[in-house]
């Protein structure tokens, strides 16, 4: 039943990466009868393998290959070798994501038009808009089984949510609920098990209640006989012919042996750090600056959202770790209202960490009683996370390190990021509102906690109408090479205020439709 394609089969579509972008694209193409080889750097883990223990799970799933960092973001100081908190496994970071699934607001597709030029930012309009994306969002919400869409009820509110909701309502906010979550909320409205309020959403859902490509799209695609997933296969380089079309990928297989897989079409979906890195590492005589990089935009405009957390301490227990991690949202600040002192907006969402990660992330590097007296109140803490639109900047970028190499001897990526003044203004506004929410329900202390290593990584192969301003067109097809596509969050032109997975999935479903019809038409 499982497909097995020959290394010399040049009729296959090769997809690099199996997360929200690549995993969905692989299944969607396989369903349409397209033959697909998906190469995944990580191993296979299913719900029975997931570990509900923060550090052990991190050791099992996290992408910890060599990386370096620079710029003024605090992650570069506190976690210099770990710019991201993402997953290396079949299914990618859909294993780790918390499930928040919200659509872009219409104005966010046209950030340059609606915000105007902002000094120091490299804003651009997407070549698509909300009307174009609406039917694809519909399909994505159905695929993921998003609560509060279709006939799916919202999740019940946990203790952490109840504190969050009461604080938000006390400040006069009205758009407050348990979120649109790709987590099954009842036994009757989907094929997955309903959420058992177990916590540990970040460590892989052991019930399979949360959507993850690892146990939905990947096996569904494999069941068609059209999809072969090769795990522990790390792509080193994309090859091309004299005419400039891509023809094959070189990858290190399970045993560390270099293999070459031929391809008709190649889709890169290795996450926003690895995707541009691969294009840059594939430089050749014909493409000395890397593949698809005539615009010089490959690797640039790295975005990671304006994030941060607020933890409030109360005089009585909250036990925020119990239940769904992120089923709680306040959207009254998500709109664009420059009178607040910044363009774009942000969401506040419930969040909790277990004690081990709280010790690592509450105030990295801090020590002494100011810090430990906070942890002493761990049981009485409530937590929220900020997700806001950060601005693309040309020099926030992924480049190849001059000296650091990964385990295969390939140049490692360096991730450079500095906050734009707009990002800082937004974060400070969000911190103040988050603290006020908790104080409104009696918090005795609050912690404005700095951003963690990035889970939302966006923008380094951005979509543009004008080939001079971006890397891919409105289908995710590279401007320079017709049979090379980008299929992950790196194609985001701007980041919007929303958690990106739903949009990545919607773009992947749409891209599969486009690729299949172009293949049928014989144009690629």
């Amino acid at each position: 039943m499982l497909a097995k394609f020959d290394l010399n089969d040049d009729s296959v579509v090769v997809i690099i990466g199996t997360g929200a972008g690549g995993g969905v694209l692989a299944n969607e193409l396989a369903q349409k009868g397209v033959k697909v080889v998906a190469l995944e750097a990580g191993g296979r883990y299913l719900p029975e393998d997931y570990l509900n223990d923060e550090w052990a799970s991190f050791g099992q799933l996290a992408w910890t290959d060599t990386r370096t960092t620079s710029g003024d973001w605090r992650v570069a100081k506190d976690f210099s070798g770990l710019p991201t908190w993402i997953v290396k496994a079949v299914g990618g970071t859909t294993t780790h994501w918390a499930g928040a699934s919200i659509r872009f607001q219409d104005h966010e597709w046209k950030a340059l038009t609606n915000y105007g030029k902002v000094e120091g930012a490299n804003l651009l309009d997407w070549p698509i808009d909300g009307a174009e994306m609406a039917p694809w969002y519909d399909k994505a919400e159905e695929k993921l089984g998003v609560t509060r869409t279709g006939n799916r009820p919202g999740l019940p509110g946990s203790n952490n949510y109840k504190v969050f909701e009461k604080g938000a309502l006390a400040l006069g906010y009205t758009q407050v609920h348990t979120g649109r979550m790709a987590i099954q909320s009842s036994d009757d409205t989907g094929n997955r098990v309903a959420c058992q309020q177990t916590g540990f959403c970040f460590q892989g859902c052991k019930w399979g209640a949360k959507w993850s490509a690892a146990y939905t799209d990947i096996p569904e695609g494999e069941a068609t006989g059209n999809l072969e997933v090769r795990d522990r296969s790390h792509v080193a380089k994309i090859l091309h012919d004299a005419a400039g079309k891509v023809t094959a990928v070189e990858y290190f297989d399970k045993d560390g042996k270099l293999q070459t897989q031929k391809a008709r079409i190649i889709c890169v979906a290795g996450n926003t750090i690895e995707s541009p890195r691969l294009l840059l590492n594939s430089a050749s005589e014909k493409y000395p600056n890397g593949l698809a990089n005539s615009s010089d935009q490959v690797g640039r405009n790295y975005m990671r959202h304006v994030t941060g957390s607020v933890y409030g301490v109360f005089d009585k227990p909250v036990r925020m770790w119990r239940g769904t991690t992120m089923a709680g949202i306040m959207q009254d600040e998500a709109h664009h209202a420059p009178e607040r002192g910044f363009v774009g907006g942000y969401e506040l969402e419930t969040l909790s960490l277990g004690l081990p990660f709280m010790a690592a992330f509450l105030d990295p590097g801090a020590w002494g009683r100011e810090f430990t007296s906070g942890l002493d109140s761990y049981e009485n803490m409530a937590g929220l996370w900020i997700v806001g639109e950060d601005l693309p900047q040309e020099n926030n970028r992924v480049t190849l390190s001059a000296d650091a190499k990964d385990q295969f001897g390939l140049p490692a990526p360096n991730v450079n990021y500095s906050d734009h003044p707009n990002d800082i203004a937004m974060r400070n506004h969000a911190y103040a509102r988050g603290v006020a929410m908790y104080e409104a329900v009696g918090a005795t202390r609050a912690f404005p906690t700095p951003p963690y290593p990035s889970t939302h990584n966006l923008g380094t192969n951005r979509m543009s109408e004008d080939p001079k301003l971006g890397v891919v067109n409105k289908w995710g097809q590279t401007h320079d090479i017709a049979n090379l596509f980008i299929s992950d969050g790196s194609q985001f032109t701007t980041g919007a205020a929303e958690n990106p997975t739903l949009t990545i999935v919607a773009l992947a479903i749409r891209q599969a439709d486009h690729i299949a019809s172009e293949m049928t038409a014989g144009t690629i």
Binding site: N52, D53, E54, W55, P156, G157, S158, N159, K162, V163, K166, C195, Q196, Q197, T198, G199, F200, K206, W207, K316, P317, V318, R319, W321, R322, G323, G354, L355, P356, A359, A360, G365, W367, G368, R369, F371, T372, L375, D376, Y378, E379, V441
Partner: protein
């Protein structure tokens, strides 16, 4: 370790004192132990003094009055090893030199936490302090045995999650 009552004693005098006044004591026989013999930590490579210093450092870096010494001891016992003994010796020498520069006999001889913290602040940029601090983040807080002290319940999958066990039981709000 409660050393407040020992303020003003020299380090040598302190170390030669009976264990009775300590929550934890350095013995001459290659181990440090709790006075009630509830637990003891043998040292094979570094000295008992050095281990006692590491233990005090751990308490001063991440002080939790409800967390007993034995958990801090577990977090630093890995430094009793050939490949870290030189780093420990040099680091503690630097720490004690900083204590002397601030008018104390040694770091361990300082009675008040706030005075020890000042000494630690003098060395906190150094490799030794940073290594000990970073190691404690997992070495201390990832011990499952201390989680209940903070109320943290760890995994709940084996109990069926919290859907029937209080995920929404907050009553005081």
């Amino acid at each position: 370790m409660k050393q407040d009552q020992l303020k003003g004693m020299t380090r040598r005098a302190l170390l030669s004192r009976s264990m009775a006044t300590w929550a934890l004591a350095v013995s001459g026989a290659g181990f440090i132990a709790a006075p009630d013999a509830a637990w003891a930590l043998e040292v094979a490579v570094i000295t008992p003094d050095q281990m006692a210093t590491l233990l005090q450092m751990a308490r001063d870096i991440y002080p939790h009055d409800k967390v007993a010494d034995q958990y801090y001891a577990v977090a630093v016992k890995g430094y009793d090893a050939e490949d870290s003994k030189d780093m420990v010796a040099a680091g503690i020498a630097e720490l004690d030199a900083a204590a002397v520069a601030q008018g104390h006999a040694s770091y361990l001889a300082i009675g008040w936490e706030k005075d020890r913290v000042k000494v630690l602040q003098a060395v906190e940029k150094g490799v030794f302090f940073q290594k000990v601090r970073a190691g404690l983040v997992t070495g201390l807080y990832n011990q499952k045995e201390i989680w209940p002290i903070f109320g943290y319940e760890g995994e709940s999958f084996s109990k069926g999650g919290y859907i029937d066990r209080g995920f929404d039981d907050i009553a005081w709000l």
